[in-house]
Amino acid sequence: MLRFIFKRILEAIPVLLIVATVTFFLLHRMPGGPFDTEKATTPEIKKQIEAYYGLDKPVTQQYFDYMKRLVLHGDLGPSQKYFGWSVNELLAGSLPVSMELGLEGLCFALFFGLTAGVIASLRKNTFGDYIPMSFATLGICIPSFVTGPLLIIVFGILLGWFNTSGWFFPRDRVLPAMTLGLYYMAYISRLTRGGMLEILNQDFIRTARAKGASEWRVVWRHSLRGGLLSVVSFLGPAISGIVTGSLVVETIFDIPGAARFFIGAAFNRDGPMLMGTTLVYAVLVVVMNLLADIVQVWMNPRLRFDS
């Protein structure tokens, strides 16, 4: 197992390197720089500012400087948009928020998605199938920038149960988590239903039923792990997708998360921030995929013997 993990980490390093390089050179092809403002500055002043950030050097030189600073000091550089802060500081403050939001959204999605998927699989092709699945599919049929404000208006303003924005009190987590979770709920319910159906069609289930096992036991003890398998393999990429996927939620609910820095960096041409968030995102993908694979192997012994 350890060797497996080690091998994957080694494989990840060239991937991360390529991601960093490609992003860096892509960024420099884009028109517009971080210091273009509506009220134009004189060329001399612009030159001064760019000199401070090293933007006047040739691109390859900037690349090596950046990589050197990153690898030797773990320093992602100063933000070119938020002058007073370094990228490390900004990410250190915002990533935990995004992670918390993502996890809470996933909890919501997992609970309702699993339930919907299980019920649907047990009542295939009847209303007991259609209704939970329709409800679950809502998440991928209505954009989250519509469901978010709707939830805010109903629960925040009309009923007054929650604040409409901000991330200050524990209660503020509820509506954003729901909005985020609705999207993943759809996929989770579908995967659960599919996985459950696969298992339920198998002989050993028929045997269990023939032996007189209660429906509850059939589901809980025998079938659920099959349903969960595909969900687990989906979770890996899903968790890393939350960093960008939560952009809408973070904007509408005004949450100080990392997704806003991520997308903002692209629009602001903030090089170090873009590099920083991209690398974090890439690391997250690698780690989550690795974790998902480990859990899959742990849950499904058959996979251990596949090369």
């Binding site: 490609v22 892509l26 954009p143 920038f145 519509v146 159906l197 990429p237 692209a266 995102y281």
Partner: protein
């Protein structure tokens, strides 16, 4: 699925007509009421949208500033927007655009994904490892940057929007096709083809690809709605279709800003959008159930 084998069952005295696997699948699909309703809905909607373009082109762009936003009435069945444009025309035209974006992007991702996955899966070995690593790398790239770059460097044509979205959606398709091809590779008809001296290219093109089309069709039906959702997300960021053209994504995004004052600007585009996505999703699910194919995952 593999080649068709007619199944003949013999009852005493009569011979039942044979059913191919495709026919069985079609029969199962018909039983799934949701999928059928979904398919029919999408077909009819597409027809209406096309008709709208043919019958009244340009009606979506006619402004009437003095009128402004008005609720649905007999003159304008679905109301008007802030510039006084008829919402029914805009929604139908937007539907045309959104569906085209969906189809075109899906087509791009299918073509790239199938070819890529088939080659990677069939050739295996070193080539497979490298190709799949490239997929991993692209997965980790920031999507928005990629789209902005394309839209900026090459201009803001709608065609490029399709391509940009398609260029990022082929990854899952490639993985799935690769998985399928790898299991097909071990079957006997392939050995036979190799023994007959067919070159690799011919085997890939003539045997692998036709046999994965079933699974491709399923995932294609599921890619279309996710592409449409992505287009809505790009509209939210301001990178979507340009004025005065509209897509459902831009209409919904505009509508949500005035959700409380002019609710019809949000309700009707969202309704069309959601119903279409629902239908496509159910159709895709139904297809998958009907063909009883295991979702292959790496």
């Amino acid at each position: 699925m593999s080649a068709e084998f007619p199944i003949v069952t013999q009852h005493a005295g009569e011979i039942e007509p044979g059913h191919s696997l495709w026919q069985d699948a079609w029969h199962r699909l018909r039983q799934n009421k949701l999928a059928v309703i979904g398919g029919v809905f999408v077909a009819i909607l597409s027809l209406i949208c096309l008709l709208a373009i043919v019958i009244a082109p340009g009606s979506y762009a006619k402004t009437n500033l003095a009128l402004g936003a008005t609720a649905p009435s007999s003159a304008h069945w679905l109301g008007t927007d802030i510039l006084g444009r008829d919402m029914l025309s805009r929604i139908l035209f937007g539907g045309c655009i959104s569906l085209s974006v969906g189809l075109a992007a899906t087509l791009v991702s299918v073509i790239i994904g199938v070819l890529y996955g088939a080659i990677s899966g069939y050739l295996g070995g070193r080539v497979d490892v490298i190709l799949m690593r490239i997929v991993d790398i692209i997965y980790s790239l920031p999507f928005v940057i990629f789209v902005i770059l394309i839209l900026v460097v090459f201009g803001k044509h709608i065609v490029l929007l399709f391509m940009a979205i398609g260029a990022v959606s082929w990854l899952d398709m490639a993985r799935i096709v690769r998985g399928q091809v790898m299991s097909l590779k071990r079957q006997e008809f392939v050995e036979a083809a190799v023994a007959l001296g067919l070159r690799k290219r011919q085997i890939i093109l003539r045997h692998m690809i036709p046999n994965v089309l079933g699974i491709v069709a399923i995932y294609a039906t599921l890619i279309v709605p996710s592409v449409m959702l992505l287009e809505a997300f790009l509209s939210f960021l301001g990178l979507g279709v340009q004025a005065p053209m509209s897509s459902w994504g831009t209409l919904i995004n505009d509508g949500r800003k005035t959700m409380e004052e002019y609710p019809w600007l949000l309700i009707y585009p969202s309704l069309f959008f959601s119903l279409t996505l629902f239908s496509l999703n159910f159709l895709g699910d139904g297809l998958r159930d009907a063909l009883d194919v295991r979702a292959s995952k790496d």
